[in-house]
Symmetry: C2
Subunit: 542 residues, 2 copies
Amino acid sequence: MTQERPELRKRPANFVPLSPVSFIARAADFFGERAAVIHGNRRFTYKEFYARTRRLAHALTKAGIKRGDTVAILAPNVPAMLEAHYAAPMIGAILNPINIRLDAALIAFCLEHGEAKLLLADREFHATIMPALEKMGARRPIVVDIADMETEGAPSFGGVEYESFIASGDPEFAYPGCEDEWDSICLLYTSGTTGNPKGAVYSHRGAYLGAIANALTFKVDHDSRYLWTLPMFHCSGWTYTWAVTAAAGTHVCLRRVEPQRIFAAIAEHRVTHMCGAPIVLNMLVHAPTEAKRPLPLRTKVATGGAAPPAIIIERMEAMGFEVLHLYGTTESYGPSTYCAPLPEWQELPVSERYQRMARQGVPNPMIERLAVIDPETGVLVPRDGASIGEIALSGHILMKGYLKNEAATDAVFADGLYHSGDLAVWHADGSIEVKDRSKDIIISGGENISSLEVEETLYRHPLVMEAAFVARPDDKWGETPCAFVTLKADASEVSAEDIIGFCRENMARYKVPKTVVFGPLPKTSTGKIQKFVLRDQAKALK
Amino acid sequence: MTQERPELRKRPANFVPLSPVSFIARAADFFGERAAVIHGNRRFTYKEFYARTRRLAHALTKAGIKRGDTVAILAPNVPAMLEAHYAAPMIGAILNPINIRLDAALIAFCLEHGEAKLLLADREFHATIMPALEKMGARRPIVVDIADMETEGAPSFGGVEYESFIASGDPEFAYPGCEDEWDSICLLYTSGTTGNPKGAVYSHRGAYLGAIANALTFKVDHDSRYLWTLPMFHCSGWTYTWAVTAAAGTHVCLRRVEPQRIFAAIAEHRVTHMCGAPIVLNMLVHAPTEAKRPLPLRTKVATGGAAPPAIIIERMEAMGFEVLHLYGTTESYGPSTYCAPLPEWQELPVSERYQRMARQGVPNPMIERLAVIDPETGVLVPRDGASIGEIALSGHILMKGYLKNEAATDAVFADGLYHSGDLAVWHADGSIEVKDRSKDIIISGGENISSLEVEETLYRHPLVMEAAFVARPDDKWGETPCAFVTLKADASEVSAEDIIGFCRENMARYKVPKTVVFGPLPKTSTGKIQKFVLRDQAKALK
């Protein structure tokens, strides 16, 4: 036989484009009475959730949104965010979830660059959205107000309110759906620390496969209750906006990521799964006693977006959480690797076990290639756990490209691999361990110092709550290590000398910070510590 | 923005054909030292398993096998079967696993119809393979002998032996891989009860997605140990040939499906997962006491291929197994639906719970549409748990078509759906429950009788081991119900009147068998009861 034969062609019965819209149709059809979305005292079954998304898809169509148009949304983790992740793709539109912490200028940039035809805008963010719209003048998109139960009293943008908007749509709208699985589904601007954000574009196929990979590695199932502690505007919630629906589990919404609300939601809804940056885990670890509540079950927490210090994993597990460590970038639809916990790790000493869990691990099945390469030559670095190289990826869950930026797309996809800009070592078992962003590495007296490694040690100090480690320009050494430290509330007595002394006891001499600065740490809108701000501060130190 | 933009095009970094060959490359690269295959006292790590498949791919290439060629294999569940499932696809060849229970004429038919260029032949089946080859004369394929450790003394086919064959290949062979994900990967002949078998053709894409769906629904993971009780020639082992590797779990091979060997393997390897037709489960339930061994853990068993009576599920669970019920056909890559156990079922009375588990359930995520339709009009039947219709499917895991049989392909894929030929009712919750193959339904005095329903009752009789229920032609009633029953070893005292009496107490009068015949039941090569043989016997009864 040969590969091409007429009787073996694609037909409607055996070939369907991969699109996450299928997940919600299936869940409504076969898990229709089960809880899909919980938000405060509102609850939607999968039938209701599907009907709401079809209404939204129809209302968008009636508002003039066509295939290929962009629909933006700026909202926290409320039902409208989830609904938009299905409604826009249903009509071939591209959803652009905008970071709620952006200022007016950046919001305007996203809306203009992405050519948003319509914006779903949460009233809580009136103070930044309104000036952005004013700045845009005649190019401003149609605005639909999201007046959520907790936004009472917040001013309107003057448009129709979300609930009225969707009420105007047909709950049985026969949406056209995805035509080609490579069609764009989402546009996500990276939080770029310098210059304008870049718009990573996802496909229906990638969203589908990313969601399946994440359901698989995080073991999300139809009896899972997933708490939305991770912003949905962050890589479409690492694809869990779709993965939880693929599994027909329950989405538990959460407007504000605060320890008290998180512990209360876990207790009330018996939350089985949640995600968050290490900063969120640290917040839970250091939550005031009155905010904490005992866990009703062993809640799984996936963390990533920045490398979690082993001690945070250890403390989370001590509180009863089960931590899964993921690694990825906006360009890889969020998680691309996971630190698969191996049964044999159970026999390791506790601290070593958590060191293992702090590694970024191995690729999930949707990654075709994971390599650690010399950024100059592209040659693989040895798997010796010591040689540092850049993490490079290819596979089913890499973005289509950066919107309207072919040069940046070409650069990041050079030589058939996505170049992450993250530096890592490669262990003998194939797992990777991130050492730094390329720009975060410190070179002091010709020696490379991994900021993460020093931070790992600082986090072990019993009175340190958060720490970041950057280079301070130095005439003699080129750079010297400088630590920024936030102490725990009850730890005002700690001095710079104490910290330096602790480091001397726990690391090689050349890595020990020469300078220690106390105070709160500046963070990006996704909770990452803004090292570029700290570097500026370190430079300005006298 | 619009859907087509040059910077958003497919590139090597972000677009790769979906192919299960990727699973083994990933497992070797990132789980390389973990156990991939266990067969008796042989053990291969993933690195070794991958090297062996690359050797085989290279040896096939050197033997003249090219892209689009068919490679057949006739062997039980030994390592060569697994290796062939990767090696053939690595070079774009199509693997045709042949049912080991076929007679010489049917083997020759498969080899000729599939145009096999090379046959990997297990010596145990010399008695049927050799005459098939002789029958083919000059058209006979190249034969490679599989001389497994348990085939000692069996005559050779005169070709090179498998281990020597792969030893001639390069363990680092840079195989060309899949070019287009729609390319054919496997050819599987259905066991067709009448006429020539039809050759269902699978694609790389379907195999990949089927494997992922099955890893997801059966929760196969990197610490899973999967026992090969299901023939790999049956839908490529319901795609678990690939799914277990996707999860980087361990394949435990098994030459013969016998209770003693199964219980021993479970105990020795701490088997976590296995699959089998209900007939295999029944065999385990009725195994002699000396063959049974206590389970070291709660082994998951997926069953399907025929509807399992609820009582078999109940008895398997009583033995400590956890049963998952799957439904599918060769045309759907094996499992297409699964009976997702819902948490609320725990509160149901035991017998009702097992009745639920005996349903065929809901579609897995790779099925786009599952419908129960009137076979004449295509109209959906109501979800009332009573109206009978035909199960129809579409989605990512339906075969490409029947090789060289466009008419049959057109017929089975009419109106955009795959028509399964299985009759079912649709419950209010969306789950389906198979009532019969279309040809197995009995129509007595104008009333439809589901043979499965009557068999369910017969299986509840304490002394019945197996039962089948068919129509017996009758001048007055059209057809009358006739039961064939195999009694347990210690149950020679039971009479036809006892069985009929038991039925009278447990079912509507018109369903009660008029005739009861005792004796062993004829089975197909995949363990299904051959109702057409029983129908012939019933017709011949005086």
